[in-house]
Amino acid sequence: MYPRIPSPEILRQTPRRIPDAVGRSLALARELESLGAFITLLDERALAHASSVAARLLAGEELPLAGYILAVKDNIAIKDVKLTCGSKILANHPATFTATAVERLEAAGAVVIGKTNLDEFAMGSSTENSALMRTVHPLDAERVPGGSSGGSAVAVAAGLCHASLGSETGGSVRQPASFCGVCGLKPTYGRISRYGLVAFGSSLDQISPFAHTCGDLHRITRVAGGYDERDATSSSIPVSTNTELELPARPLRIGLLRNFLEHEALDSAISTAVQAAIKALRESGQTLVDIDLPSVNYSIPVYYIVATAEASSNLARFDGVRYGFRHPDAADLASVYDMSRGAGFGVEVRRRIMMGTYVLSSGYYDAYYSTALKVRHVIAEEISAALQDVDVILAPTTPSTAFKIGEKIDDPMAMYLSDVFTVPANLAGVPAVSVPWGTDEKGLPIGLQFMGRHYAEEQLLSAGMLLERLRPQA
């Protein structure tokens, strides 16, 4: 399961090995530097924390995540550690506080070894938009790992750590999880505090974990999640009290999302994989029902209006005045803004700020933003209504497997469409998990996803665990 480092279970049983294992993770990250997973490695901090965790375990303390070695996407704040967001504008910016999710995971004994690469400000689906470095697919250096949380996906897939944190706005964890052959959970909006996550589309953003198994996703989510007084949108609904994930106690009623399963853009290898999964689920006694959610076909335009509108406002603070990059040639206030932002942001970020500014502009607000909010509401209602009848909804995670570096970078629409199956869960705020299911003819991983009911992460992950059990073992 974890080919290169001892499992968390083993480390918990032998606490003295934790610092060594952390050292091994850090060394591996350097050996496999060409993967481009990490922007920053936190040797000193990680080893100090590892020693402290080991000592506390030996003193008899209960630490639910002791033994877990984690990586964190570099748009999530850790105090005094660079928080680059993959952008030149923040390339040397140290965070002034630590994100709630990281604080909770570390308090539970997990050790963070580094900050991972991402598309600049999480805007992208291939991690090619990072202004700082290139991340490649762990199985094929000519392919993308997916994005925007590409570094966190690769860190787990390549066995550099046990699990990692990414963030989702429109599929930025499930899509790279699918490409890289690991599990990725987008929790319910409000499940995990966003405090310390650099905002992209605030009404969609959610810190989201990667791991090798749904069981690990469960352990991480219940520790990282729960109400946070520093995030007014975090939910007070309690997290699961079960420390270990189990298979569903009864047969599940699973909705098969026909308009995605039969989507024209879907690769045939993925279609075949879905059919195999459906067959296995049916044979294992689950009830499968066809569902059709016509409004989700509008998810991509709605998403790109809502997310870019919010982004145009969220990224206004990066103006060269107080922190981050200020253009050395700027001579007055207007040129501080224009030149710092013009040179500090990459092309995709600028494109989205322009789009977002446009859709919020007076005279266009009603046609774009206001309409998008209404359609978003319809999509959310439709998904919620379907989930009244079924426990979870099954769909492919992505229309294709990992594509080649450069293949879509000059065609934004093609890039945006790689999120076509993931975006609905973000718009509706429901949790969704991507679980690996086989490979295509090139040996590239395929991911299938379940969407679940609000705050029903445990049930959703149980369904994912079922897929893990049913999938043909390689």
Partner: protein, 479 residues
Amino acid sequence: MTTGYEIIAGLEIHAQLVTRTKAFCRCPNQYGAAPNTLVCPVCLGMPGALPVLNREVVAQAAKLATALGANIHLQSRFDRKNYFYPDLPKGYQISQFYQPFAMGGRLRISTGAGERWIQITRAHLEEDAGKSMHLADGSTVVDMNRCGVPLIEIVSEPDFRSPEEAGAYLSAMRELLRFIGVCDGNMEEGSLRCDANVSVRKIGETAFRERTEMKNLNSIRSVERAIAAEAKRQIGVYDNGGTITRQTMQWDDQAGVLTPMRVKEGSDDYRYFPEPDLPALELSDDDVKAMLATLPELPESRRARYRDEYGLHVEAVYLLASDRALSDYFETLIGSGRSPAIAAAWVQGEVQRLLRENAWELSDFPVSAERLGGIIDAVESKRITRAIGKDILRRMLSDLRTADEIILAEGLDGGHGEDEVRELIKGILVKYPDELAKYREGKTKMIGFFMGQIMQETKGKADPTTTKDVLMQLLHNTE
């Protein structure tokens, strides 16, 4: 100046709310600290920080809305107002645009022309920005302490027809805000700020003409002067066949001139949209009720009571119902059944005199309403004279004792109660039989002689009314 024209003006008042902490973070909400010391990741807009609404802000807004008779929306929302400025660290201000906290309401103003109601359009919550300071060397520095300080913006209808009315409104709003403890009203420190919209039109016209906006009106006087100056300018433009374009002007109070800030093309595009970091602000009727628990009886209502029930003179009515501390002092005085007229006379007379003499606020005044009440009771029960009462009050400025304690310790009523006075007079009548006989023969002016003797014996401490009553009884008692 305004021959043939009338002024149409409206005011937007920004009031900083009195709260322990800022609107969306836990930094102290206080004025005057060293620059950039009352800041945190949230109010500095550091990446990843999120706002969380301070409920105290809502309670203060609810008090003001209720005091104005405005309709509190049980559901309101926050929106982002997007613009770039160095003192705005997030690149947007959290405000309320689409669903404000309260709509409607009114405030009574009083000018030389009489009293009238001014209608309020809306009141919404927002956060203050930081403060840019332009230094002598041409550089600009920013103090972020003010970032995130809670504001309520109160927008009036264009109801003012003269600069004086606008001034009276600002003055009345300031008085109300202070009275209910929602804002300290300090215009020099910027806790209360005012913008004005002004247009003019020919008398008889019903449509509004183009208006201009004036910023930076930081006193009641500058509101009046700026509106007058702008109205005069607009009339001049119209009289010369010109047109007014919508623009924002900056008022220079020292020079007394308006300078254009920027020409508005249509309107500024702030790209308002719902603030996704804050859920809708939802209140129940019970929430509102609880928030109003600390709302005092309002000046309007107190004035009516003082005038109609207590029959106080108009001057006393305004004095005693305009300042919260003084009004509460008066309320405490009359709370234990003392005559409002007598209590009002003491507060209006002696208390005001002492405050003036010492240049004190009421909060500096060492004599509590309870202690003053003791003096009034002693005077009213004739234990001491009014003159002695005043002396005791003055003595209390540096003496912590109650009136009773002072009177007893100093013997200020010693032997000068009615019984004692009676015995004293009996003795005097015995001592001066000739003078008594003269009185009884009809020389009524001998009363003066006897009063003089009594006052001499009591060193003036006997109550003159009581003394005279007893004296007359005894003079006519021929037993």
